[in-house]
Point group: C2
Chain length 340, copies 2
């Protein structure tokens, strides 16, 4: 019989998680105090800017427990934060994990989720140094704060793209969103958890090693990760940079599985590629003469697919899609509005 949190209690659970972190986590560099006091603490390295971000996932909104294992859920929650640190060019260092859990949750599931939390930061030698656990009624949540570092002056923002810059994107945005749709449509009728698009949704991966390489290369002008969809995040770059963008439709990266899914949905695959989807790919802008260098840096960091898809323009917040026939169509970045 699985033990539930209500049986071992908050402090019992915390003791088990501390043991798990000691055994399966890494010792974070510069950590003075980890879990167990009023705060954690660390000594930052000189010459480094400290990055900090937080992101939360709520059951029923960001994930369906019947569709994702606790381990994958833990990975996914950490990936979205690692991706944010990576999109600034940083390396993750320390995480704080705040959980809202049902009392009837099995202790073993929380431990598996913690193994998922460790899976992605461990290769960076990043560690979990703090957190909070509380009980909730109907809406369990995971809220992770991740700290990282980037050499002073090297971080890559979304506000610094310049007209004339080339726009590059890694991988194949849109696949995660298509995977979510597939999961929701087939749920209960068909086993789709192993479909490549669904896997991309459940455990999207991140580009933090590549993002760091780009920042350190000094070749790019702006960078962002795609968590609000390709168009939503390109829209963030345009809005913050006071610029626009022209996208060449036939250069937009489409993978066969997305084309197949679009056909099954009766949709235009380009709509799926551009629309809401959290793929955690990178959008990078750079002067045209740096494109080769950026592609080389991304390739050396292990990115297999890189597409140059268009140019930043001076037309504030106007994003246009240029067809193969030279036609121009204005498209609206929507982004993922949780309250929309």
């Amino acid at each position: 019989m699985a033990e539930r949190i209500s049986q071992i209690g908050e402090f019992g659970l915390i003791r088990r998680l501390k043991d798990l972190l000691l055994k399966e986590g890494v010792a974070g560099r510069g950590v003075v105090l980890g879990i167990g006091d009023d705060t954690a603490s660390f000594i930052p390295r000189s010459g480094q800017e400290v990055l900090v971000t937080c992101d939360s996932m709520v059951e029923g909104r960001h994930y369906l427990p019947e569709c994702i294992s606790p381990h994958d859920l833990g990975r996914r929650a950490m990936i979205s934060n690692i991706s944010d640190i990576g999109a600034m060019g940083g390396a993750p260092l320390y995480a704080l994990v705040s959980l809202g859990l049902r009392p009837k949750t099995a202790d073993a599931d929380v431990e598996e989720m913690y193994r998922g939390f460790l899976f992605e930061p461990n290769p960076f030698h990043a560690s979990i140094i703090g957190g909070n656990i509380t009980s909730v009624g109907d809406s369990p949540f995971i809220d992770i704060t991740l700290l990282g570092e980037v050499p002073e002056g090297r971080s890559l923002r979304r506000s610094t793209a310049r007209p004339g810059d080339s726009i590059l994107v890694t991988g194949f945005p849109g696949r995660s969103g298509a995977g979510l749709r597939l999961l929701l449509e087939k749920k209960g009728t068909e086993q789709v958890e192993d479909h490549p698009l669904v896997r991309k949704y459940l455990v999207p991966g991140h580009r933090a090693f590549a993002g760091r390489a780009i920042a350190l290369s000094g070749l790019a002008t702006a960078m962002i990760d795609t968590s609000d969809g390709f168009l939503g995040d390109l829209g963030h770059i345009c809005e913050e940079s006071g610029a626009g963008a022209d996208l060449e439709q036939n250069k937009l990266p489409l993978k066969q599985d997305l084309i197949d899914a679009a056909r099954a949905f009766g949709e235009d695959p380009y709509e799926l590629m551009l629309g809401n989807s959290d793929d955690y790919e990178l959008i990078v802008t750079c002067p045209p003469e740096n494109v080769t260098g950026v592609i080389t840096a991304l390739s050396e960091a292990g990115v297999e697919s890189i597409s140059e898809v268009g140019k930043i323009t001076p037309f504030a917040q106007q994003i246009r899609l240029i067809g193969g026939d030279g036609s121009e169509r204005r498209i609206e970045p929507k982004g993922w509005d949780h309250f929309g």
Copy 2:
């Protein structure tokens, strides 16, 4: 007609909150990037340890919206984090605020809550530099991560109390817990929101300025804030320090309003003083010869009531209550178990 989040949308709300922070917040020292990019960032001061803590509040578990104004709720959520930074001897610097909100929540209420978030950090010149907003169904939550700093080597832990140390406590623990009980018992029948005990529960205050003064004085051996009740937190000190404690019952601080409430509840006031209550007072241990110095430092930091209540003993995790007649009684620290 009040505007709801679902009407202005996630990004509309974020824009309003950014405006509010610009107008009513302070510019945090060393901040490179505030709200609006993939991460926030700052340049830490050399010679300082960075402290980081997080604490969450869930509607229905940690607060009842019908009993607390959005402004007080914001203050209270920030206080519990500031108290943790202060209990290490640190000064708060930067906050990240992660909210789970119902779509039907009024925008004006979120703005009022944000004014509450700013109320406590502003005097420290600490700023809100990031966060996250998501929609939830039935369990709105507030999860705050707070960063602070303390000069290297000066932080005061819970694990470093030594046998023979005197135990001091600020203020009158137990009043917040009694206020909560009063609120729950009288809710719907009597207006008790202005009762001093209820106010202490709703907006408990913090001792962060005093905590910092104690840490910088170098006179204390250990420190903790009382968020799990006096006995719960003294228990944390004893557990982490591998020590015990003898408390002199007639030195325990009792305020008349707690005595009156205990009588009305038909309870022993000492039980209320020792039990579950989040008052955010400080428990400080120090060698007996430093007691006068600690009291002076606390007084100079504005603490009006300080009590020396007992001694740390070598008997691991045994906390004893010594009666006026010399009788000894072992008491168990329970702490506030959210899953108990």
